[in-house]
């Protein structure tokens, strides 16, 4: 097995570990008095965690020069999508009994549901274009442009989280800080490298 293949397996193993814990705790009746609420909340948080890990690849490459990480970014994004699917399916089945009309009315009446669904819908084209074939078909530049949607997914995800808590905003605030840092890094990096270029140009 080559290293890339092994690292991919390693990522999958760690990405699926939370599900093993949940299954184990569930089997032992240790998910608390409201296991459905726990599962719904936990899959939501894991979606956000996976999105943030995906977004941290670029800063890690730029700061530490770990360019090899790029090979695993699409896969991390797909795990974010997978947890997002679990989150949405749990909500649809156990909160809405799969009644489409109820889900649609929820979207129109409750802003936090609308934001969550919007974030999920934005992940769909990203997951759909994650194969090598699709990258080639739409062209690397367009592909990169499309996948900037991830920034919006992260921001909407944090807002969605923030809107559902009652008074203890610690975790949504923590996630918001991380998103600000990850997106802020990109803005500063872009600004600095472009001003660097202009300086060079004027010197020349």
């Amino acid at each position: 097995m080559n290293d890339v293949k092994f690292h991919k397996l390693l990522i999958s193993f760690n990405a699926l570990l939370p599900l093993c814990f949940i299954a184990y705790d569930g089997w032992n009746g240790q998910l608390g008095a409201n296991p459905l609420e726990f599962f719904l909340r936990t899959t939501g948080v894991l979606t956000l965690v996976a999105v943030l890990i995906t977004l941290s690849i670029t800063p890690l490459r730029k700061v530490f020069g770990w360019n090899g990480l790029i090979k695993y970014r699409r896969m991390l994004g797909l795990y974010a999508f997978a947890y997002g699917c679990l989150h949405l399916v749990t909500y649809s089945i156990f909160d809405k009994s799969l009644i489409v009309a109820d889900i649609v009315s929820d979207v129109f009446v409750r802003p936090f549901i609308a934001i969550g669904i919007l974030a999920f819908l934005m992940m769909v084209p990203l997951a759909g274009t994650s194969t090598n074939g699709m990258v080639k078909r739409i062209g690397g530049k367009n592909w990169a442009r499309l996948h900037k949607l991830t920034y919006a997914v992260a921001v909407l995800g944090v807002i969605h989280f923030w809107m559902i808590v009652k008074s203890d905003i610690f975790y949504p605030a923590l996630f918001a800080l991380i998103v600000v840092a990850l997106l802020g890094f990109r803005i500063i990096y872009k600004y600095r490298s472009s001003s660097h270029r202009t300086k060079k140009a004027t010197v020349a």
Binding site: F6, L10, F13, N14, L17, P18, F21, D25, N28, G29, Q30, L31, G32, A33, N34, L36, E37, F38, T42, V45, F94, D95, S97, D106, V109, R110, P111, F112, M163, I164, K166, S167, D168, I169, F170
Partner: protein, 330 residues
């Protein structure tokens, strides 16, 4: 080793003639080392991500199967199959923000909560103000009541309470004619509890009822559940239970009761006046601004239930609100 690989190896060795062949790691050693490293990576990463998961999601206490006590007909809406939740469910899923905002974490955080000595100061617009010790309060006539408890977060439980009617206490201090409301205050000790900043709401927690609501025979000052003293996490040693209102009206660990002429403040109403009203009667027709109140998840059930007007206690309490617009006074 395949012949091709061996050939490559030989070519490499030949082309790097300056390297002493003894310095080259034999392939089997190299592979062993790599497998060892990979094993370490698998184990190490699992320890890191596994402990991160466990840190944020500790395994909760094992919850027992549900108890088989059904709500008595005296105090429940007819026809509803209400089975009491188990003691474990009731005592491990608590909103008690003084200890933690995580419902499953309250029990552990409240374990060493000191509830003796304890007294409630009763005053305000009453003929006979005074301080009642918990022993005095426990000597009042007690009743057993199995009530539905509907949380504003849209989950519910059925709880077998034991307590005294609030009416019994109020009659001993004799409210003055001017008294229109009853204000309650919780115990708060920063040495035993978390800060307001961590919880996001002000402490001490305060609540209030209209006097006629307080005098209603369903309104209890509960001192225990399942025939046991009140667990710390459920509001030991004495708490309010108003079964037709959202759970947060049931103020815990009460130290002060004051009769007033004007509507007293209530903690969640101060925090978000457009989300939590003073009355907070259970009402499926009036949604919380962020979520629906039409249905609820009964703890222990998979399918959501329809939420009942006044939590199913309409026959007993609807007359208290005859002239009121319950959308306005939510």
């Amino acid at each position: 080793m395949s012949n091709k690989k061996r050939l490559c190896r030989i070519i490499k060795v030949v082309s790097n003639a300056e390297i002493d062949p003894n310095e080259i790691t034999p392939e089997n050693v190299y592979l062993n080392r790599r497998n060892f490293l990979r094993g370490g990576l698998v184990a190490g990463s699992a320890i890191v991500s596994g402990s991160a998961y466990r840190f944020f999601n500790p395994a909760t206490l094992r919850t027992d199967l549900r108890a088989s006590i059904t709500a008595s007909s005296e105090n429940s809406a007819s026809g509803s199959a209400d089975i009491a939740n188990s003691y474990d469910e009731i005592s491990n899923y608590n909103n008690f923000y003084e200890f933690s905002t995580t419902k499953s974490a309250v029990a552990a955080k409240a374990r060493d909560f000191v509830t003796r000595p304890w007294a409630i100061e009763v005053g305000g617009l009453v003929e006979a103000p005074g301080t009642l010790s918990i022993e005095d309060l426990l000597s009042f006539e007690h009743v057993e009541r199995i009530y539905r408890m509907r949380c504003v977060e849209a989950w519910s439980m059925v709880i077998p309470w034991r307590g005294l009617k609030l009416k019994t206490l109020l009659e001993t201090v004799r409210p003055l004619a001017k008294a229109k409301y009853v204000a309650f205050e919780s115990f708060y000790d920063p040495a035993q509890m978390q800060s307001s900043f961590a919880a996001g709401i002000d402490f001490p927690y305060v609540e209030g009822l209209r006097l006629d609501e307080a005098m209603h025979p369903l309104t209890l000052l509960a001192t225990g559940l399942y025939g046991k003293p009140m667990p710390n996490q459920n509001g030991a040693p004495i708490r309010l239970v108003v079964p037709w209102k959202y759970g947060f009206k049931g103020i815990k660990s009460i130290v002060k009761i004051t009769l007033t002429e004007t509507e007293p403040p209530s903690t969640w109403n101060i925090f978000a006046p457009d989300e939590y009203g003073f009355y907070s009667n259970v009402n499926p027709a009036v949604d919380h601004p962020r979520w629906s109140q039409a249905t609820e998840r009964r703890i222990g059930e998979l399918k959501r239930r329809e939420t009942l007007m006044f939590n199913g206690y309409g026959d007993e309490v609807a007359s208290l609100y005859d002239e009121m617009d319950l959308k306005k006074y939510f």
